[in-house]
């Protein structure tokens, strides 16, 4: 009999009464009430080496209020944990002093803590399958080289003990998606894979039980490993593209300055309501639709309409979200915010056009559709034939039909597409192109017509003066002096061009900007002006221009501007034409500017003053003619056309909505990679088709062997690994 002393003592209670355990301690409450530490994420586009890491980390940690800083060089980001009241605005100047350009990233857009859970899950399963494959293969080689009787059975049993849990764990992604497809009434690529895995495992268990000669445990785990490898490559390419696209979106932190009772408060755009007053500083983007109540300025509408000329804005001028304020501060009364803004209505158009595009079936899907029924029919006929031949030997018939399934299993087919897409996306990423959609490369390869937008796509959207040589030097000196006093894009361009030409600004006095009109000052006792035509008393021209008035009787002199060409624009157009594609230029800008550009680039077909709907309609008309259109554009006016096109490209400087609608994002300033992308896409599609042919060829050889019942596990292993390796090597040939 046990005494009470032998019983284990009751567990120690940390608090005097049970209720205290449930009630949180005062300390914990205080902790909860205190504001949580801020997690700030900054993009560091110029970080590239070990010295960068330590400079940034130690530099940030020295700042008061910063708890820790960790640079991620792969993503070119730094994650800072700091006191709750710290903001990115406190850190950016500090980083600038260290010599690093930094941009705040919206942590809400980037899933900071989540990381890449799906990728790690796949990698874990891949690791398990790799471990199992190596061990089972060791045992299998022993069996193939002649292990007999009890030894063979023992090896089979050990193989099974390793392979069965592995297939059950590592094969889950296939089982799950096969089941999901089956419930939806489809037979995808994953169904024959799952069937082969299950059949190979169960046949092997049965054979091992009956001391059979052949067990396919090695085939089952090898299949899992290779297919998971393909799956992981596929996921990885997409994850890289997704995180880069997310980062572009996160760079635009949606904030606005609200004026409430005279005070300026920075608030998220989502909190703005109709009737609020919002201050838009020069250089800032208008966050909402509204009406100007105070201030005069010029606004750049190019992202919305494609017009390259800035428009005047004063009281009562309506403004739309997405426009950029150029010269003077504007106070805007909100008339529509959030979902009701014109930006958002445009995004809805995109959603409609996008749903039309998802109808595209990828090459892999088409291959799977042809492949699955064929394999199942083959396997079943083999079963039937051998049942009839052997007079009902079920074991033999099942063995053969399983061997057929295992040997034809789309090991190479599963790698054929991901291996090529990974190689091509990596190559294009190094050229500065981000492939967002999985089927973008295949669609790009089919393109025969290319439609370019003008402003911001083929041009930089920044003007450059073209007639400096027509003016006397004294005028240029005066113009340079006046232009130096303004931050208007035309003035900036003029000042820069004069500086480059070695022209020293003439000294003027009392230089000041008159927002919305130009710059005014005194020079040699006369009032001088540089600005809009009407303001200096000149007749406006059809092209972008600014006028200089010297304050005497001489008429005002016009400085005309042309949009500067985006680097690589000529190469891109020439490259696409050399590939036999028809190039169109469709712009919302005035006919003069569009014709000039078309002539400069050698584009024969152009259309000017196109409304957003017209652009989309034109693209749709091309599609109706059976043409496959590549749309390259950046503005909101291109968004619907981008979504309607067969495949679309937008530069990183484009509006968020345009980037979302496009399949490929151009990360650099140079547009020449677009032509390379079309070439590489064509090559990649050829490689994918070659890969299908290679895996088909292996089947043509291996299937008859399996059908007559001569296939052994050694044969299956050879066919599987050889075809997988050939397919991967073929993908690497991509230049």
């Amino acid at each position: 009999m046990t005494s009470a002393a032998d019983l284990p003592p009751p567990r120690a209670m940390p608090a005097a009464c049970p209720a205290c355990v449930v009630a949180p301690s005062a300390e914990r409450l205080a902790q909860l009430a205190a504001p949580q530490a801020a997690r700030l994420m900054l993009s560091l586009p110029t970080a590239h080496c070990a010295a960068c890491i330590s400079t940034v980390e130690t530099g940030l940690q020295r700042l008061p209020g910063v708890h820790s800083a960790r640079v991620n060089l792969t993503l070119k980001r730094v994650l800072v944990e700091a006191d709750a009241e710290m903001t990115a605005q406190d850190l950016i100047p500090a980083l600038a002093r260290l010599g690093y350009e930094a941009h705040e990233l919206d942590a809400g857009v980037l899933s900071v803590t989540d990381g890449d859970r799906q990728g790690r899950d796949l990698l874990m399963r891949l690791g398990v399958a790799g471990f199992a494959m190596m061990n089972v293969m060791l045992l299998s080689v022993a069996v193939w080289s002649g292990a007999e009787d009890a030894t063979r059975d023992l090896f089979h049993w050990i193989s099974g003990a390793i392979a069965l849990p592995t297939v059950a764990f590592a094969g889950q992604p296939f089982f799950k998606s096969a089941w999901a497809a089956l419930k939806a009434g489809r037979l995808g690529m994953d169904f024959p894979i799952s069937l082969a895995l299950v059949l190979a495992s169960s046949i092997s268990v049965y054979e091992t039980w009956h001391s059979g000669h052949h067990a396919y445990f090695d085939a089952a785990v090898m299949l899992t490993f290779f297919l998971l490898g393909g799956r992981y490559l596929d996921h990885r390419t997409r994850a890289v593209a997704r995180s880069a696209a997310q980062e572009l979106a996160a760079l635009e932190v949606p904030r606005a300055i609200r004026l409430s009772e005279g005070a300026e408060v920075t608030v998220p755009v989502a909190e703005l309501a109709v009737g609020d007053l919002v201050l838009v500083r020069p250089g800032g983007r208008v966050p909402v639709d509204g009406v100007v109540t105070a201030g005069t300025s010029e606004i750049d509408r190019s992202l919305l309409t494609g017009e390259s000329l800035p428009a005047f804005a004063g009281p009562e001028t309506p403004v739309s979200a997405g426009e950029v304020n150029l010269t003077g501060p504007l106070t805007v009364r909100v008339t529509a915010a959030g979902k009701d803004t014109s930006l958002h209505r445009m995004a809805d158009l995109v959603a409609i056009a996008e749903s039309a595009r998802t109808r595209y079936t990828s090459l892999a899907d088409r291959a799977a559709r042809a492949y699955s029924p064929l394999v199942h029919i083959l396997s079943f006929s083999a079963f039937g034939w051998w049942m009839w031949q052997t007079g009902g030997d079920v074991r033999h018939a099942i063995n053969i039909s399983a061997a057929v399934l295992i040997i034809t299993c789309p090991c190479a087919l599963g790698l054929a597409v991901p291996a090529v897409v990974t190689a091509a996306s990596g190559r294009l990423f190094r050229k500065g192109l981000l492939i967002k959609s999985g089927t973008a490369l295949e669609r790009l390869a089919e393109v025969d017509t290319v439609v370019f937008d003008k402003t911001g796509t083929l041009t930089m959207g920044t003007p450059a003066p073209v007639n400096l040589d027509d003016h006397p030097r004294a005028d240029l000196e005066l113009a340079a002096a006046l232009a130096g006093a303004s931050s208007h894009p035309l003035a900036l361009a003029l000042a820069r061009a004069c500086a480059d030409a070695g022209i020293r600004p003439a000294g003027g006095e009392d230089l000041h900007e008159v927002p919305g009109y130009g710059v005014e000052g005194r020079w040699q006792g006369r009032r001088v002006r540089l600005g809009r035509a009407g303001w200096v008393g000149a007749d406006p021209l059809a092209v972008t221009a600014t006028w200089l008035h010297r304050g005497d009787d001489a008429p005002a002199r016009a400085f005309t501007f042309a949009d500067s060409l985006r680097p690589g624009a000529e190469a891109a157009v020439a490259g696409l034409r050399a590939q036999g594609k028809r190039v169109w230029l469709i712009s919302g800008d005035a006919p003069g500017a569009v014709r000039d550009l078309a002539e400069r680039l050698g584009i024969d077909d152009w259309q000017a003053e196109a409304l957003p709907q017209e652009k989309a309609a034109k693209v749709a008309a091309f599609a109706a003619e059976g043409r496959k259109v590549l749309m390259v554009g950046d503005g909101l006016n291109d968004t619907a056309a981008l979504a309607a096109a067969h495949v679309s490209v937008s530069p990183a400087s484009a509006l968020d909505a345009a980037r979302v609608a496009s399949d490929i994002v151009l990360l650099g300033r140079d547009i020449a990679p677009v032509a390379d992308a079309a070439r590489i896409a064509g090559q990649a599609t050829r490689r994918i088709k070659e890969n299908f042919a290679i895996s088909g060829l292996y089947n043509v050889v291996a299937v008859p062997i399996a059908l007559v019942g001569l296939a052994t596990p050694l044969w299956a292993a050879l066919a599987m690994s050889l075809s997988s390796i050939t397919v991967s090597l073929n993908a690497l040939r991509l230049k």
Binding site: A50, V71, T74, R120, L138, T151
Partner: protein, 52 residues
């Protein structure tokens, strides 16, 4: 052939250790920043004593 009775469990055990090490590295997010880790070994910041 009795040696198999020792060698097979030993090889499986060692392989299993490797697998566990792989799991640990995944859990510890060792693959989040491969480029940064490759560069970090060049800094002399924590050469004398490990980072606390």
């Amino acid at each position: 052939m009795e040696i198999l009775g020792i060698l097979i469990p030993v090889s499986l055990f060692l392989g299993g250790l490797g697998l566990l090490a792989f799991f640990w590295s995944l859990k510890n997010r060792q693959y989040e920043d491969p480029r940064g880790d490759a560069e970090r070994i060049l800094t002399s910041d924590w050469d004398d004593a490990p980072k606390p």
